[in-house]
Symmetry: C2
Subunit: 307 residues, 2 copies
DNA sequence: CCAAAAGTGTTAGGGTTACACCCATGT
DNA sequence: ACATGGGTGTAACCCTAACACTTTTGG
């Protein structure tokens, strides 16, 4: 089976830089390649685009296939089109980055081809993937000023110091604890939250906190409303995403796309080991992100985080 | 002549959103399509990528071919991969935006297929180009906080109010004259400049101002040094650009790429009419952008414009 | 019990904003 | 002469940065 065109066409692939935060440092997810080129080296999950899917769909599909993670919100980094970036043939890669909460990482099962690496301790990567990684980092640093993307790296409820450590890890700077908290609260996009919204299966949590409850420090007890607990779930900045309708243009059978099976895989769906677990640390007051308030705020003020 | 692959490949094209500033509003350059699909509609310059060039090279080449403008610095907007965005076949477009100084627009000659349109008065566009335009605008608004890209839209020497009108046009807000000037000067990236560095051919200007000269308002005369006049020329934010080496991977003859000749063209090189000329206005003190100072500043402070 | 992290306010200084009048130029 | 736009300074206010001690919790 072959495909013929009047003019030469490059192959188009996607790659995805997945960031995770373990409470201390930023991590990226890598996959060990099973085949040449760059056999046994580490690379980002990704693969070749089908004719009936957008690049976004492709990245999402590959991520699911190769890591078992179903990531809704991908941010496009751009196209990487170096003429010789893949020795097999001309391949243009459309790269994305995405952020994943620790709670979404379905703790280690078997497959060990996907692994988290601390951002400062990444092995040499296949293709031009270290170049892509650098772009991803700098893009993340930029985006964090305009979108509350940081929250996608934390569980639904988090302490102020987790949030601070995250911002410090991404931006590479140190903040004063009190000033950081004050500024974050001033933005108005945080809500107080109850304990352990995280670790409970979704079905439990709504029941458990049906009545109003109290929480707080030893100094002051604050009332909490059920509506504060379950704000709308976060979604990332999708400014670069192509919103075109997904319509089948030409139907192709999946079997033809074996080039996709580049990475080492045992089953169709494998999971990376869980993020290196943060030391539990002392529990502080818990917060969660309120997207509604953020949206309103943003609309008014051409929003930007100030640090 | 045909090209055969084992798996289906999309075509890859580039499109370029070119911004120009006439002293009053922001304009974009459009080209009238000569052929179906979308015959006689307006679209961004662009065309299909060759196998021996990066997307950046391609956009630059197409821009030269279709508008006669040689733009060095393109910023990538991202890939647009809607499955049906081109009715002919599956086409992934990598879009760029670029900024052009009025002095670079080689005032109108004959070809009238390229025209500037005020950003708020753009006709309906071919393909998904109005979507691309919206992305370009929002990207420009973001980028202007981090890179002094605004200066690429102005001639080498400009008045403070030209700069201010530009920022106001891009960001859609109004600034207080005095506060804007103070903040701009505080950044340290501006130099004072002599009159009419712009309109002179490059060969003239260096001679003309060899000795120190004086300029200034009626209130105060300030000394000017030759070194202030000719700072290094500006170059844009290229964060998303692929810096891979440009190496021939497969050599193809140009004739095969007739799909490129999509837009209405008479000659290989045509020029858009000049930007709608700004009313001359009263001349104020002139400034120019100092890239060296900007680079130093940026490196130190994780630079951001504050407005 | 001890170490480590959380909780909490104030002050000084720097930066931002808001604001008005005069003068030069061009019409 | 009149209208337009350039040139200039200051005061109030807000926000930021810097800073220390006590309490709680986990080990």
């Amino acid at each position: 089976m072959s495909y013929t065109y009047q003019f030469p066409h490059p192959a188009v692939a996607t790659d995805c830089v997945l960031f995770g935060f373990d409470g201390k440092e930023l991590n990226v997810l890598l996959i060990e390649r099973a085949m040449d080129p760059y056999k046994d080296m580490w690379a980002f999950p990704g693969g070749f685009m089908r004719m009936d899917e957008t690049a976004e769909d492709c990245a999402q599909r590959e991520l699911l296939e190769e890591t078992g993670l179903n990531i809704q919100s991908l941010n496009q980094l751009g196209a990487f089109s170096g003429v010789r970036r893949d020795p097999r043939e001309r391949v243009v890669s459309i790269a994305f980055y995405a952020l994943v909460k620790p709670s979404e990482v379905s703790g280690g099962d078997d497959a060990r081809q996907a692994r988290w690496f601390p951002i400062d301790d990444v092995p040499q990567l296949a293709f031009d993937h270290d170049f892509i990684l650098r772009k991803a980092m700098s893009q993340l640093r930029k985006d964090i000023y305009f979108e509350p993307i940081g929250f996608e790296l934390l569980n639904n409820a988090f302490t102020m110091s987790e949030l601070q450590r995250l911002y410090e890890a991404i931006l590479g700077v140190h903040f004063d604890r009190r000033n950081f908290e004050r500024k974050m609260l001033q933005t108005g996009i945080l809500q107080t939250a109850a304990e352990s919204v995280d670790d409970l299966p979704a079905s439990h949590s709504r029941e458990q906190f049906k009545d109003n409850r109290f929480y707080g420090s030893h100094r002051e007890m604050k009332k909490m409303d059920i509506n504060d607990l379950f704000g709308p779930s976060e979604s990332p900045s999708q400014i670069l995403q192509d919103t075109s309708a997904h319509i089948h243009f030409q139907t192709l059978s999946t079997e033809h796309l074996s080039m996709t099976d580049d990475r080492k895989m045992e089953a169709d769906e494998t999971s990376p080991e869980a993020l290196p677990k943060r030391k539990p640390g002392r529990k502080g007051r818990l917060f969660s992100f309120n997207k509604e308030k953020y949206d309103r705020f943003k609309h008014d003020n051409n929003f930007r985080f100030e640090f």
